[in-house]
């Protein structure tokens, strides 16, 4: 304390006068937020990444006996916890182990009481194998059977290399089968579908039908050849067998080709473990899901999320910018504009499921149904002609009235009656045109031949993206308006003084200057849209999509297809899957990936924005 003051203030008074306590309070608020974010990220990252790490397999000998010998079980320890017994009230040490072998045990997990364990060992010869069916298997190998007579015992030195070779061959054949069934047979199926529709529409005379039918027959025979090839390959997959023994002593036999990948966890070095870790992570990113999504990768979901988000951004950006330009530059300030602004802002607070319901009702059933089968209730022809005539007449009148008004007379404002007539003419033109299009009795849809199965009249990636872009529209509008207000008045006036029209000024000066701000809006919109699940569930997301929204079959972009989405995948795995314990690691890994994807999209947009900023370089205003 300074000596100059005869009566130094108390330290409490000093604290409060400096506002120190309030500073601490604000800092605490920030810290709580930071801890929550960091904790969440850490939890998800740790759990998400540990899924891929190969854990050792332990063999437990139980105190209980089965068939005259102590019961044995092998598995990976996943959890250790203390439970209070309901009967005695004593604490019980419990472990949860992942036993795999769902085909043998029925369940993949098991709880063991510590007190029931006689001993625990780490035998080196255990193999963990990922299979295309029934999940992982944990076993000790016994022998390979190449044919009923020829076999190779597990203690033979060539056993492991031989197993590796067979697994690789099996994988290659599986890829071949997938290529055959998905791509070649898929393409032929698409052509057969088209032909059948043409045949249905073709006139019944045999001359017209003959070439079509002949082509159909050729396609069918091609299909049969390919299908036969696939069957041969499938049968080939079943020849080599692996006989293995479970910890309980039971011997089982399994087609080698159904093993996708295997490793010996108790013999791995650190580098070896890391290699397996990378292999698992890569497979997770690039493979398609298996076993009700609880196994395999999530590539279709990554791809679906990515395409959906980009499509949404592509739709929301022009719409939001155009709306904001009108609101900010052209609309006359007043109660009307004020209330529109309030409505736009409130739109951002509408629950997303409401947007989903709207998307389902309007886009999927309304617009999609219209595209599929034309108007459900067309106007009678006479009325329709009247409506279209009315549209043309009002359009001509509105044009005449508007064009007669030249911009040089800008100083004399239009009379109220005249602008009212003009506006109502334009509005009736728009309404009548809409009526003419929506109720046309001559339009029977673009996909009427495929009915009753809907093409666009059901959820799909296009409708989901449009719904989300409506939902994120307020964000872009508000950001663009703010960015436009931030463009200095001086620069706008300078542009006008150079002889630019108002539109040229907006297009060449105001909008480029506002672009970084617009990018901020798009970033926020993408971040919100990519993580949204509820509206997607009813507008096009599915648990398992057979094909991607982009592929090699014409017309390459299939906007009507249903798709998979990471957010929905998380919900589906965690809460809808038959074995949620088995799916839990996947939930964490998928969450990690979704966060990562959002971060990557945001970083890209931020990069673009800072590039724009550097180009515009804040001036000395």
């Amino acid at each position: 304390m300074s000596d100059a003051h005869s009566n130094p203030p108390s330290s409490a008074a000093l604290l409060s006068s400096k506002g120190e306590i309030k500073v601490w309070l604000t800092a605490t608020g920030l810290n709580v937020g930071l801890f929550m974010v960091a904790g969440l990220l850490l939890l998800i990252t740790w759990n998400g990444l540990s899924v891929f790490w190969p854990q050792p397999v332990s063999e437990f000998t139980l105190t209980s006996e089965k068939d005259g010998a102590p019961e044995k079980i092998a598995g990976i320890i996943t959890k250790q916890k203390t439970r209070r017994s309901a009967a005695t009230g004593q604490a019980i040490e419990e472990i949860q182990i992942f036993t795999g072998n769902r085909d043998a045990y029925g369940l993949a997990f098991r709880f063991l009481d510590q007190s029931s364990l006689a001993s625990t060992t780490l035998p080196t010869d255990y193999i963990v194998a990922e299979r295309s069916e029934y999940g992982k298997a944990i076993f000790t190998p016994v022998r390979l059977e190449f044919s009923p007579t020829q076999s190779l015992l597990a203690n033979d030195p060539t056993f492991l290399p031989e197993l590796h070779r067979l697994v690789k061959e099996g994988n290659d054949r599986r890829a071949e089968i997938t290529a055959l069934e998905k791509h070649e047979i898929g393409a032929i199926n698409a052509r057969i579908d088209k032909l059948e529709i043409r045949l249905r529409k073709a006139d019944p005379s045999p001359e017209a039908r003959a070439p079509l039918e002949q082509e159909l027959a050729t396609l069918r025979s091609e299909y049969a050849t390919l299908a036969a090839q696939a069957t041969t390959l499938r049968d080939r997959q079943k020849i080599e067998k692996l006989v293995y023994r479970l910890a309980s002593g039971e011997e089982r036999s399994q087609a080698v080709a159904e093993i996708i990948h295997f490793y010996q966890p108790n013999q791995l070095t650190l580098v070896g473990r890391f290699k397996i870790f990378l292999h698992h992570a890569l497979a997770f990113l690039t493979e398609e899901p298996r076993e009700a999504n609880t196994e395999g990768g999530i590539f279709p979901a990554i791809f679906g999320t990515f395409v959906m988000t980009l499509l949404m951004a592509a739709l929301v950006t022009p719409l939001g910018i155009i709306a904001a330009i009108y609101l900010h530059e052209y609309a006359k300030p007043g109660i009307m504009l004020q209330s529109i602004r309030i409505c736009v802002n409130n739109l951002a607070g509408v629950p997303s499921i409401v947007f989903g319901v709207f998307g389902l009702g309007f886009f999927v059933y309304g617009v999609g149904g219209y595209i599929d089968h034309g108007p459900a209730y067309p106007l009678p022809e006479r009325w329709w002609f009247l409506a279209s005539l009315g549209a043309v007449v009002t359009l001509i009148l509105a044009l005449l009235l508007t064009l007669k008004y030249s911009p040089t007379q800008a100083l004399q404002p239009k009379s109220k009656a005249r602008s009212f007539t003009e506006n109502s003419l334009w509005i009736s033109t728009a309404l009548l045109t809409l009526l003419t299009l929506a109720k046309c009795p001559y339009f029977h849809g673009f996909f009427a031949d495929k009915l009753p199965s809907p093409t666009f009249g059901t959820g799909g990636i296009l409708w989901a993206s449009i719904t989300l872009s409506l939902m994120t529209l307020p964000v872009v509008i508000v950001a663009t308006e703010e960015a436009l207000s931030a463009v200095p008045r001086g620069v706008r006036e300078a542009a006008l003084a150079c002889g630019a029209s108002k539109w040229q000024m907006i297009q060449r000066i105001a909008l480029p200057g506002a672009l970084p701000g617009v990018m901020t809006g798009i970033i926020l919109a993408m971040a919100r849209g990519a993580g949204e699940v509820a509206p997607l569930m009813i507008t096009g997301v599915v648990k398992l999509a057979p094909s991607l929204p982009l592929d090699g079959i014409a017309p390459f972009i299939h906007a009507e297809r249903k798709f998979m989405h990471l957010g929905f995948h998380i919900f589906d795995l965690g809460f809808q899957s038959p074995d949620s314990e088995a799916a839990k690691p996947m939930v964490f890994a998928t969450t990690l990936l979704l966060i990562f994807l959002v971060v990557v999209l945001n970083l890209t947009a931020i990069q673009i924005r800072s590039h724009l900023r550097r180009k515009l370089q804040a001036s000395a205003f």
Partner: protein, 262 residues
């Protein structure tokens, strides 16, 4: 017909005529019966205390005030004999004939090159050779060419304040307007940059009719051929610069130029 000051009536042609011009922002009248003419190829300075209406008059000369809501005028302004308010006159083509330089330098967030040719671009002229010529000529006239000729395609924001203001002048004259309006062009500049701009103005008057609003009486004295003094929205005195400053005929003028109010 609004008069030129006596000594010019034989030697110069009135290019802009402000004819009994009244002007209102909403209910507030800011110009009262302004009646004067600006001679061709001369520099005319408008001086007066803040809020006296000199900037409003200037911004009416290229109808920049059209942007404001609720404006009203009476009387007429004629440019080379044609009324600005003639229904046949388009604001855009008017502004191509009347260039403007603002108080605060305001280059566009573009390259130096694109800044200069902006008025040509919006007029739809895109011939590369022509544009190159215009850029060089305008920048030379604005005495900026030698300083920026090696960085024409860099951002205009990299220039100093004085250079940016000269760039704005180059931009304003690129389209060869007949009139150049300058609204306190040196208010945001240091003395050296101010001097440069003033030199520039005296060179430019051979080609353009210049009207400048200034708060700086020394500046009016240095560059202007004629000076008009405004007070409370009225034109008080309009004369050759030298005589206005040495023998003001009105008492308010004398009080203002001798610094008794500002």
């Amino acid at each position: 017909m609004p008069p030129l000051p006596l000594h010019l009536q034989s030697s110069a042609r009135p290019f802009i005529e402000v004819d009994h011009f009244d002007f209102w922002y909403g209910p507030k009248q800011v110009l009262h019966d302004i009646h004067l003419a600006f001679p061709e190829n001369h520099i005319t300075a408008l001086i007066g205390p803040s809020g006296c209406g000199k900037t409003t008059l200037l911004r009416n000369l290229n109808r920049m005030n059209d942007l404001v809501d609720g404006i009203r005028h009476r009387g007429d302004i004629r440019l080379d004999g044609t009324s600005l308010y003639d229904p046949k006159v388009e604001v855009i083509s008017l502004r191509k004939r009347v260039g403007m330089v603002f108080q605060k330098y305001n280059p566009f967030p573009k390259s130096i090159y694109e800044n200069v040719i902006f008025s040509l671009r919006v007029a739809g002229r895109n011939d590369r050779r022509q544009l190159d010529e215009v850029v060089e000529k305008s920048l030379r006239q604005a005495a900026l060419w030698d300083e920026v000729k090696d960085k024409l395609h860099e951002s205009a924001f990299g220039l100093s304040g004085g250079q940016q203001q000269r760039l704005c002048i180059a931009r304003a004259i690129a389209n060869r307007p007949q009139v150049l309006l300058m609204d306190e062009p040196c208010a945001a500049l240091d003395p050296i940059a101010t001097l440069k701009i003033e030199e520039l103005m005296t060179q430019l008057k051979d080609e353009f009719t210049i009207v400048i609003v200034t708060h700086n009486m020394e500046q009016a004295r240095r560059v202007a051929d004629l000076t008009a003094f405004f007070y409370l929205g009225k034109l008080i005195e309009y004369d050759e610069t030298l005589s206005l400053f040495t023998q003001p005929s009105q008492i308010q003028t004398e009080a203002y130029i001798s610094g008794r109010f500002s």
